[in-house]
């Protein structure tokens, strides 16, 4: 058989015809609301965030200090053993400079780009990253391997949510001295890390 010998289905409706209502459609705008229970492990994690602390969980068998914390180890398949506070500093594993919002709409002309990143938190096992945002940094100054610190909401405004951390900012002002730059670079020995 050859695809070329068939008349294929799939009639494309032009966007303009769709927008002008030249084709009949039926619309529905759902207004669904969910309330998600936080669970045991993440509940404690959030309670920690409210106090300005990042709480991890240890599995004694594989020795991993896990973020986000979990009540069972998915690898050893046994209960985890202990809570442990880790630092609110970390290392940028990777980052993006996003001009796009959650629904694929574009950032406005006067809106700064969003700066999502994966941050490996100090004190947790290597590679234990969380997704969060970067701030107080020029996008072109961000580097993989850069050290960052959490910027917390004022205590009275915290609600026990991941957004109690506003964002992570560079630990030191970027590239002031040649020495500082060098340090960042050596942290950035990427190929070795990739083969972890």
């Amino acid at each position: 058989m050859k695809l070329e010998d068939y008349e294929l289905g799939g009639i494309n409706i032009k966007s303009s015809d769709f927008k002008k209502g030249k084709v009949l459609t039926t619309e529905w705008e759902p207004n669904l609301k969910y309330a998600w229970d936080n669970g045991v492990a993440i509940g404690r994690y959030l309670a920690g965030l409210k106090e300005g602390r990042i709480i991890a969980r240890i599995c004694y068998q594989c020795k991993r200090i896990m973020l986000p914390p979990r009540m069972f180890c998915e690898l050893c398949f046994r209960p985890t053993d202990e809570w442990m506070e880790v630092k609110d500093t970390g290392t940028i594993n990777t980052f993006s400079i996003a001009q796009v919002n959650w629904d694929a709409s574009r950032r406005g002309k006067d809106e700064p780009p969003l700066l999502p990143a994966v941050i490996e938190i100090d004190g947790a096992s290597p590679g234990m990253g969380i997704m969060h945002m970067l701030g107080e940094v020029e996008p072109d100054q961000i580097k993989v391997g850069m050290k960052v610190r959490a910027v917390w909401k004022p205590r009275e405004e915290r609600t026990g949510a991941i957004t109690d951390i506003l964002y992570f900012k560079p630990l030191r002002a970027p590239a002031k001295k040649a020495g500082a730059r060098k340090k960042t670079k050596s942290k950035n020995a990427a190929p070795a890390r990739g083969k972890r």
């Binding site: 289905g9 799939g10 993440i42 980052f95 400079i97 001009q99 959650w102 999502p116 991941i162």
Partner: protein, 387 residues
Amino acid sequence: MGMRKVAIVGAGITKFVRRAQETGKELSWQASKMALDSCELTLDDVDMVTMGTAPDAFDGVHMKGEYLADGAGGIGKPYMRHFVGGGTGVFSPIHGWFHVASGMADICLVVAEEKMSSCHPHPQGAFLTIFDHTTEQPLMPTLIWIFALEMNRYMETYGISKADIARVSVKNKHNAMDHPAAQIPQEITVEDVLNSETLCWPVNRLDISPASDGAAAIVLASERVARRITDKPVWIDGIGFSIDTAYWATRDLAYPRYVETAARMAYDMAGIKEPHKEIHIAEPYDPFDYKELHHMEGLQLCKRGEAARLTADGVTARDGNMPICPSGGALGVGNPIAATGLMKIIEIFLQLRGEAGKRQVPGDPRCGLAQAWGDLMQMGTVVVMRK
């Protein structure tokens, strides 16, 4: 293994388009009917039906599998839906393979459908709820963010440039010029990709496959029945699938280990020891251009960090030593999620039969592979086929 041999004996597909007039059910019917016609079977000959379709949230139809059953020829038959996110389309033949290999069915119709256009203003919005609802969703992420994060980590780890990666988009959109179902076949340059709108650095508009509507279907048959239907069966010699953790930020983003695990499962089953020599042609999943490279490495088709160089050297072109995505892939043919994976299976099926028309790769390929990947960047699905 005590399992029967399973062959692909027929295939059908619709055009991939941005917004189809047809419903998902109608698209499924068109692809299913064409697949049965292509091997001169009727629905009466079909013992079982499997249906692959990705999130219900795209269509806004709950119990989508049940809704689509009419179009897929499932009524009154053992019928089952499978769903592993973007990995769904290559899981479709795997699901059907179990039915036939086990001896429960002699002929299984395998259908995959996606209608993303129903979700407004953009189907990207439906992806918000794949992120963890407590630790990630409040940051209002989009799926493009995590692709950008993964691409950046991949570039940083191996010292690969955006231009190196853009070559994949150029190649695949070019290949799609010869695909009758293609949505965005284009002759573009690396500069066009680099100069296209920056969505989430390092990802530009032309690094990404489009949102699409479309359907595809294949017919699977047991060995005895397959040989009665066609003198050119294409055998499913290896299947593999594997999932990694949904704690995606804790994974090595530079290397898709779940793809490696799935590939090794399929290679073991197919008796493949040196994939880069024994696989003649491959259709890895390419929703983003860097993913083709990422997946080639996970599939052991080359060493880590080497896929970009192979692309630059023309090795992965249609007339290269290891043609990758000769169909035009998700980047060129379009990306109606589940249907894309099955489109890739169909491309290998046609290539191994020497029936790919202008897309035919030279050198009489005898062994091919299709791969897809999905969920929260954690699921690998692999099928190895031989003629």
